[in-house]
């Protein structure tokens, strides 16, 4: 009997633990992720009064009446500035992803091939800039790229150019900053993936007469697909909405949607418009996020 009582106790204790363990994080994320997202969707369909958002639901003769206001979306669709900005954000984010992959893949591959005792240090050296302030590292590029900056001074000193060339506040400076900031996000998942690669496949390919180059393209790259996708998504998604880098390194003509959202909110005080810009941005990154989620769950298995 006491055995049964103990079992009942245990089951009850476990269920109690389970309820808390799942309930606490659930409440946290519903309050701080889900509800805020629903609220911006709601506000994007609301009319903007001068200091606050108009109420959507009004009571008319005892019946609720819902006001959906599509002004913000109509404006988004008709003003070509927004369309151009979304397009150019995607363009910059894609270019960043591609360049990060071109630099990061060989790098991760060489890291894995390095002697085992230095690998830990090599990984640490990639992660260290990731720990030091992102903002300060972007600011550091201002010193490098300014008209009177280090790179111009160096080029003039070497006699390669006569006068300062403008790098700052151009798409070039923006791209340098983006690639620089997001490169570790590409390298680390690729490294994690490649270091788990079964070397016997490579040996088998070599035994069967494939050249190292052919082995690389036909065996290594396809096997590291999950790492490539994870890295690409981790770079692409935040890059689309990046605000700080275009603000500090980009020019007034390098359009990025994160900056437009910021201005709608802080300069124009138009919450409804800012929310609509955000909602469309979420729709754009939903597919990449779903792909990332799928590969992460697969990798976890």
């Amino acid at each position: 009997m006491s055995g049964l009582a103990q079992m009942v106790d245990e089951v009850r204790a476990r269920l109690g633990g389970r309820r808390w363990l799942i309930g606490v994080p659930y409440l946290w994320y519903v309050l701080l992720v889900l509800i805020p997202l629903l609220i911006i969707i709601k506000i994007s369909f609301s009319e903007m009064l001068i200091t606050e958002v108009a109420s959507m639901l009004t009571w008319r003769q005892g019946w609720p009446s819902l006001h959906l206001n599509f002004d913000s979306y109509v404006f988004l669709a008709t003003d070509t500035l927004y369309f151009d900005t979304y397009l150019s954000s995607i363009k910059y984010a894609l270019a960043t992803t591609l360049i990060c992959l071109l630099i990061g893949y060989p790098f991760a591959y060489f890291m894995v091939r390095s002697p085992a005792h230095v690998q830990h240090t090599l990984v640490m050296l990639v992660m260290l800039p990731f720990w030091t302030s992102f903002l300060l590292r972007i600011y550091a590029w201002k010193i490098m790229l300014a008209d009177d900056g280090v790179i111009n001074a160096l080029l003039i000193h070497l006699g390669i150019i006569d006068g300062a060339i403008q790098i700052m506040n151009t798409p070039t400076s923006l791209m340098i900053g983006m690639v620089y900031s997001y490169l570790p996000f590409m390298i680390l998942p690729l490294y994690a993936n490649l270091s788990k690669l079964d070397m016997r496949y490579l040996e088998a390919a070599a035994d069967l007469g494939a050249s190292p180059w052919k082995t690389f393209w036909l065996v290594t790259v396809p096997l590291s697909k999950a790492g490539i996708i994870a890295g690409a998504m981790l770079v692409f998604i935040p890059a689309v909405g990046e605000y700080v880098i275009p603000e500090l390194l980009g020019g007034s003509d390098t359009l990025m949607i994160g900056r437009v959202l910021w201005d709608e909110f802080f300069s124009n005080n138009d919450w409804s418009m800012a929310s609509a810009v955000a909602v469309v941005m979420i729709l754009l990154i939903l597919l990449p996020m779903a792909i990332l989620n799928k590969y992460q769950t697969e990798a976890a298995r």
């Binding site: 659930y26 994320y29 992720v33 060489f110 050296l125 919450w271």
Partner: protein, 279 residues
């Protein structure tokens, strides 16, 4: 692919990652405020930092927020990691895991805007919270919890499940298993999650800008507003201080973790060899 090519590729990438930081540090000791003119080495910008009241009060606020939000991040991150790893099946598990990873990848401006508009609605109904320390804290804790979840999850996955089972077989209650077995093994992950979320909070400018109210400027907000206007020697000096502290911290942490991992391995080997002798 030959070795020389591999080596030069790696050196080039490391140079790309480190040269801007090194330049920043070097120029913080330049007496001239102009980048191109190196007059002579000087610590005058560091001396000027001491008198920079805006910067000093921003540092205090940032440290306070970073410490508290890191504690909150580790707390909620641990909960999330346990819920997602201990229970493979429950209704809404996919929703929880998507919500937990959303702050990691979603652009900061969206997280900031949506959180702020939620907090404004709450304030509308309840009269609190006012924008300031608490609201910034919530934003940082949300972002931090998502990162802490990743760090703690990876540790939970590599932990030996047999130890928990052994403890339960020996009569431990679930909570005792957690307190006596799981938690001690998890400490290194909790420490690195704390430090990571601390630095994330100390570094954040976008969430803080959305969530802050008048009178609450964090250090990155002050740096950002100065950097927008152009190059500023005071930032170079402040940056050098921050970068040195973080670098020393990260190196110390990695040494501590390497030692902890070695010790754990030794202890495990000892336990298994003893149990083999007994049987």
């Amino acid at each position: 692919m030959n070795n020389a090519f591999a080596k030069s590729w790696m050196i080039a990438v490391y140079a790309f990652l480190y040269l801007p930081i090194i330049t920043l540090v070097v120029y913080s000791f330049n007496a001239s405020p102009l980048v191109t003119v190196w007059s002579h080495a000087s610590v005058k910008w560091y001396v000027a930092l001491m008198a920079d009241d805006d910067l000093i009060s921003a540092v205090k606020l940032s440290l306070e927020i970073a410490f508290l939000s890191a504690l909150m991040s580790v707390f909620f991150g641990t909960f999330t990691a346990f819920a997602l790893n201990r229970y493979r099946r429950f209704s809404g598990r996919t929703l929880l895991s998507s919500m937990a990873s959303a702050p990691l990848v979603m652009p900061d401006v969206i997280v900031g805007l949506s959180l702020l508009l939620m907090l404004v609605s709450v304030q509308h109904w309840l009269g609190f919270p006012d924008r300031g320390l608490f609201t910034i804290l919530l934003g940082h804790a949300l972002l931090g919890a998502a990162y802490a979840n990743v760090v703690i999850t990876s540790r939970l996955r590599e932990m030996d499940g047999r130890l928990d089972e052994a403890a339960m077989d020996l009569g431990c209650k679930p909570f005792q298993v957690f307190r006596l077995v799981t938690l001690p093994l998890l400490v290194p992950a909790l420490v690195s999650a704390f430090l990571l979320t601390f630095t994330l909070s100390f570094d954040d400018v976008v969430l803080s800008s959305f969530l802050s109210g008048p009178g609450y400027s964090t250090l990155p907000m002050v740096i950002f507003s100065r950097a927008r206007l152009g190059l500023n020697p005071s930032i170079n000096a402040a940056a050098t201080v921050i970068i040195s502290v973080v670098t020393i911290g990260v190196i110390a942490l990695s040494l501590y973790q390497a030692r902890a991992a070695r010790q754990r391995k030794r202890e495990m080997a000892l336990v298994y060899s003893e149990s083999n002798q007994n049987t």
